[in-house]
Symmetry: C2
Subunit: 189 residues, 2 copies
């Protein structure tokens, strides 16, 4: 998606060889116009799928999923992150490890909002190590629901997320794929 | 806002005399169609204001603010919550106490995304004790920006938030105001 790549090039801040900050339009300040273009693109890419719900993860996924949901005309459900070790019987839970923050956390979705009739589109801002997506897919499986596809805004293909989630055998669409970040320079696939 | 009140009555779950759960359309599952009506209503109520940015707080505020921002044609900035006691010089920070969770946390917005030219609309899902809104207003003041108004989806007027934030002398608009919750019954103002 050219518009997105342009924004990444003009506003993305590369930290080291693995971290890309896009706080100015995606992760703290949100450019709702750009998100609308992203939403339309996801709708186009998954137009072959029968989707009745979008599942994402707080916090950055919420805006992306909510704007995209307007094009799919479906509700959004977002998984909440928890640091605790408590177990909540009323929720589906999964463990997620964040390599960026070097710590694990739990994600939860109330059992009320995921069920076996659901045909889910998973949406997230980044695909890096794939842990968040695998956690979300785990929740979907616990609910007996079915994931129809995975929509990612920015994929860092030099990390191992893609190969991990490809094993799920699902349609994966990343709107911008970064192959390499070296000396502050971003190379798209 | 009648549509919102109807949803609160049909789907809201009252816990004790103070807690209202609206997870089925606002706080975990998000009804994007309803949010569009909420966004239009905020635009109508604040049409007299010159707003260039919407400020909210993660997580539930993000969807509401993002959908509303489409009607204002402005970006959204969301404050992030932190449990730590570290100080981050690159961010504006405020302390917020959550009476619901009975604990304090910090909220932060990068100094990049709030500045003295900004004319802010604060948006949040609930007004209860007013702590989150006061924290957001504190960030706006630190940035030298100016708040144009405060948009709340659900106000619990039996708690003290309203009287606290009225002292700011700003336009406050709550789309549904709950006066009392007794024996599981919701009474609107």
């Amino acid at each position: 998606m050219e518009l997105l790549k342009e924004r990444i090039l003009s506003e993305g801040r590369v930290i080291g060889e693995e971290i890309l900050k896009v706080d100015s339009f995606l992760n703290q300040q949100i450019d709702v116009e750009l998100l609308n273009e992203i939403g339309k693109e996801f709708k186009k890419l998954f137009s072959n799928k029968n989707i009745n719900k979008i599942l994402t993860i707080e916090a950055s996924g919420i805006a992306i999923a909510s704007i995209a949901a307007q094009y799919f005309k479906v509700p959004v459900v977002f998984a909440k992150k928890f640091d605790d070790d408590k177990t909540d019987d009323s929720s589906y839970e999964a463990r997620v490890f964040s390599f960026t923050k070097n710590k694990g956390y739990k994600i939860r979705v109330s059992k009320r909002y995921l069920n076996k009739e659901d045909r889910i589109l998973l949406i997230d801002d980044f695909l890096a190590n794939g842990q968040a997506v695998l956690g979300l897919e785990n929740l979907v499986e616990q609910a007996g629901a079915e994931t129809q596809g995975i929509g990612i805004v920015i994929e860092k293909s030099f990390q191992e997320g893609r190969s991990k989630i490809e094993k799920l055998g699902l349609q994966i669409e990343s709107l911008a794929i970064i192959e390499k970040m070296e000396n502050g320079k971003i190379n798209f696939k």
